[in-house]
């Protein structure tokens, strides 16, 4: 049982490897740096401990202000407290992006039903516009035909 629980709490090794590999090739584009197996394990474990450390600190901040739900500000404050303040600015930027996307998704989900209703009403005007375009084409043809005899 313990083994299963431990596995669930671990971070996906493949993703950790990709993050590390990408960073290494960024640091040193000239040649490949080998990543030893125990180094990868240490990175993965460290990241997990970091999550524990960060969320525990954020949880303390949250409780100090007597709120029940840990929010984004708690996490940002916690980052400052655990001496990783340089993460805050880029994180704020990506949080904004994340929120925008989520807002879009929620709006999209609630609008899905409305869209279905709208489809029926939209079909009619589209038919009309199709008819109009046919008319205009017909007009053009008429004009061409009308022009042809004039030229001859």
């Amino acid at each position: 049982m313990e083994k299963v629980v431990a596995q669930i709490e671990e971070l996906p090794r493949a993703i950790v490897r990709r993050v590390v590999k990408d960073k290494l090739s960024e640091c040193c584009p000239d040649y490949d740096i080998n990543l030893q197996k125990d180094s990868l394990l240490a990175f993965s474990e460290s990241a997990r401990i970091f999550i524990h450390y960060l969320s525990a600190t954020a949880n303390d901040i949250c409780k100090e202000s007597k709120r029940q739900t840990m929010n984004a500000d708690d996490v940002l404050k916690a980052l400052e407290e655990i001496e990783f303040p340089e993460f805050i600015a880029p994180l704020k930027a990506s949080l904004d992006e994340f929120r925008k996307k989520n807002a879009g998704k929620k709006a999209g989900a609630s609008k899905a039903k409305e869209v279905n209703k709208k489809r029926k009403t939209e079909e009619e005007p589209s038919k009309k516009s199709g008819a109009k375009s046919k008319h205009s084409k017909g007009d053009q043809n008429n004009e061409d035909k009308g022009g042809a005899p004039g030229n001859s």
């Binding site: 590390v20 460290s46 994340f98």
Partner: protein, 129 residues
């Protein structure tokens, strides 16, 4: 190593074949690097009695990735000082022991000792006490 390259190739093929849909998924994958449920579960074990907003989980997820990158950069510098072409465990552990803000890892990424040295240290402490 060999397993990774074909995967990348497949991904690119997929992107090329169904443009927009996969592009969106790819973007989402970029934004939340680790699975959100996994991160939330790890966080829950510290804060089981309080709720956690989705924003907070997202931030912790992103922060953990940035942490790996920062840790990797610091370890890489150590690796360069050592003039090695591969990143060894002792590069990571020496970062942890040198930089104060990595102190929280000292129990999890300890410096490796040779059994001889460890024994000598133990004897010095316990022999004296």
């Amino acid at each position: 190593k060999t397993g990774k390259k074909p995967n990348r190739g497949k991904r690119k093929e997929k992107e090329a074949s169904n443009g927009n849909k996969n592009g969106e998924e790819e973007e989402e994958a970029k934004m939340c690097v680790f699975p959100m449920m996994r991160v939330k579960r790890i966080m829950k074990s510290d804060a089981s009695d309080s709720h956690i907003s989705q924003d907070a989980v997202f931030l912790v997820n992103q922060a953990s990735v940035m942490f790996i990158q920062q840790f990797c950069e610091d370890a890489y510098e150590c690796c360069m000082e050592d003039r090695k072409k591969s990143l060894h465990y002792n590069h990571l552990s020496s970062v942890v022991s040198k930089q104060r803000r990595y102190d929280f890892l000292s129990d999890f990424v300890p410096q490796k000792l040779k059994a001889k040295d460890a024994l000598a240290e133990w004897k010095a402490v316990h022999g004296g006490g």
